[in-house]
Amino acid sequence: MTAPALALEGVAVNRAEVPVVHDVSLEAAPGAVTVVLGANGAGKTTLMDGIAGLAPVKSGTIRLDGTAIEKLQPYKRARAGLGYVEQARTTFRTLTVEQNLIVSQSADGDIATVYKLFPELEKRRTLQAGYLSGGEQQMLVLGRALVSAPKVVLIDEMSLGLAPLVVRRLMSTVGELAGMGIAVLLIEQFANLALDVGTHAYVLRKGGVVFSGPCEELRGDDERLHRLYFGGPPLSAAGTDAADESELE
C-alpha cells in the first residue's frame, strides 16, 4: 500500500478559542482525490485551515510525507509541499494573473504547466486578477497552488457561486492534478460531483469523523448521505459497521 502523502492523527482545531474539530484522523494518498463531506458548520473549513496553519491545532499530529508539520508556520508548510485553495476565490486582486503565479512559484514550479491546464489564464496574463470572471479567478487560485509544486493540495468549496458548467470543468482539472501524482484533499458542497472524482471519502459531523470508506459506497445514495450529515437511526448496510449513528471503518 502507498504511504499517505498527508496523514492526520487525533487532530483538534479551535476557532477563536472555541473547539470546532476534535479527534480527526484521516489520510490522503498520492495520486488520488480524497473527499471530505459534511453539512454546513460540520468543521470542514476549520479542519482545512488547521492543516494549512491558519487555525491553531490544539492536539494531534499532521504529517506531510512523513514529517510532522503541525507546529510549522503556514508559509513553511507551503514550502514543505502543501498547497491550499481557500474558499471564496482568494486571488491577489491588484496583481496581474502572471504576478499572482510568480509570487507563489517555487523553484520546481512551472507557470507553463498552469497555462497548459488553463489556456484562458494565458490570454489574460497581464490583466489584474480582480477583473477576471469567477471561474477564471478559481482557475487562477488552483494554478497558484499548482505552481508551488505541491505534494498535497487542499481544495475548499471551489464550486461556490460558479456555474455548473464551470464546476464540471474545474472538477475534471482536480482529477488531472491527481494524475500528476498530487494528493488532493477535496471539500465540496456538490457531494456527488466530488464522489465521482474521488476514491476515498470522509464525512464530518459536529467536528468529528462519522464515516470513512470508498467513495463508491456513498455515490448516488442521497438518503445515506443525509443521515450521515445530520444523524439518525443507525444503518445496518452490508460492508459497514453501524454504531452510535456513525459508520467508521
Partner: protein
C-alpha cells in the same frame, strides 16, 4: 507672504519624506506607526552622540541608521508575534504606547529642549539660489530629491521586483500570502527595519531646520500623519504633494504675527479638515437613507 511660502517649501520636503514612511508602513504591514519618528530620533541622537565623541560622521550615520533599523525591527517583530490577528486600532494603540515610552527614554538619555539640543551636522547648508529674497539652501533640494527618489524607487520596487510583488500580496491578503509560501513575518520585520532606517536618515536631514532636541523631532509624527492623510495612507505621489502643502501652510502661518505662535497647530488643522472632507459622503448617504 510669497517669501514665507517658499520658506515653507524648505520644510515640506522633509515632511513629505516622513509622510511617505508612514504610508509605506501602513500599506505594507497595515499598521499606523505612531512610534516611527521617535525611533528615527533615537537613531539620530545615537549618531550625534557618537560624532560629539569624535567618531567619523559617516560611520556614526551608519551606526545610527542600524540602531533605528534594529529598534524598529524589534517593535515590528513584537507586533507580528503578539498582535498579528488584532485590529488596526489595537496595533496603532500599541505604537502610541511605544511612542510615549521611547520619548520618555529619549528625553532621559539625551535631555529636553533646554538641555538636550544638539548640533546636528548640516552638510547641505550652502545656498543654491535666491527666490523672492529667500535664500534656498541645498538641503531643500536634497530633501525634495530624496522624497522623489523614494516615491519612484518604492513604486518601481513594488511593481517590478519579485520582493515588491510579495509585499503587495502580503498587504492585500496576509493569510493567503502565507499559505502560498510568502514568509510574511520575516518580510514584515524587514519592512519595519527598512522604514526605521529611512526615518532616521530623514530625521538627520531635517533636524538642523526643524529642531534639534529629542522631543521636537519625535513630535514630528503629528506632521507626518497629517501628510499621510493627504495621500489617504495609500497614494505616494499625493503624499509627496501633501508634505509640500503642509510645509507651505506652516510658512504662511509664520508670516502673520497674530497666528505665528499657533504654527504648531497646522498639522492638527489639516487632519481635522481632511477628516471632515472625507466624511462628507457618509453624512450625505446617511441623510438620504432615512
Amino acid at each position: 507672504m510669497l517669501n514665507s511660502v517658499i520658506a515653507g517649501l524648505t520644510s515640506g520636503g522633509g515632511y513629505a519624506l516622513l509622510g511617505l514612511c508612514v504610508v509605506l508602513t501602513y500599506r505594507l504591514v497595515a499598521v499606523v506607526n505612531f512610534a516611527m519618528t521617535a525611533v528615527g530620533a533615537m537613531g539620530a541622537f545615537v549618531m550625534v552622540t557618537l560624532t560629539d565623541e569624535g567618531l567619523n560622521v559617516w560611520l556614526a550615520l551608519l551606526i545610527g541608521a542600524a540602531t533605528a533599523a534594529l529598534l524598529s525591527g524589534v517593535f515590528g517583530a513584537a507586533l507580528v508575534r503578539w498582535f498579528a490577528g488584532h485590529r488596526e486600532g489595537t496595533k496603532a494603540a500599541v505604537t502610541v504606547a511605544l511612542y510615549v515610552a521611547l520619548t520618555a527614554l529619549g528625553l532621559r538619555l539625551f535631555g529636553g529642549n533646554t538641555t538636550g539640543a544638539r548640533q546636528f551636522p548640516n552638510p547641505f547648508d550652502d545656498p543654491v539660489f535666491t527666490v523672492g529674497g529667500v535664500v534656498v539652501p541645498q538641503s531643500v533640494l536634497v530633501s525634495l530629491a530624496f522624497a522623489v527618489l523614494i516615491t519612484l524607487g518604492v513604486g518601481l520596487m513594488l511593481t517590478r521586483t519579485r520582493l515588491g510583488l510579495k509585499l503587495q500580496a502580503l498587504s492585500e491578503r496576509p493569510g493567503t500570502a502565507e499559505v502560498v509560501g510568502i514568509p510574511a513575518p520575516r518580510l514584515a520585520v524587514g519592512v519595519w527595519a527598512g522604514v526605521g532606517a529611512i526615518t532616521m536618515l530623514v530625521i538627520v536631514l531635517v533636524a538642523p531646520r526643524l529642531g534639534s532636541d529629542f522631543g521636537a523631532l519625535a513630535g514630528l509624527i503629528s506632521t507626518a500623519l497629517a501628510v499621510a492623510m493627504v495621500g489617504a495612507f495609500r497614494n505616494l505621489p499625493l503624499t509627496l504633494a501633501g508634505g509640500l502643502i503642509v510645509g507651505c501652510l506652516e510658512g504662511m502661518s509664520s508670516s502673520l504675527d497674530s497666528i505665528q505662535k499657533y504654527q504648531g497647530v497646522v498639522p492638527f488643522l489639516v487632519i481635522l479638515v481632511l477628516l471632515w472632507w472625507r466624511s462628507r459622503r457618509e453624512v450625505w448617504d446617511t441623510a438620504h437613507s432615512r
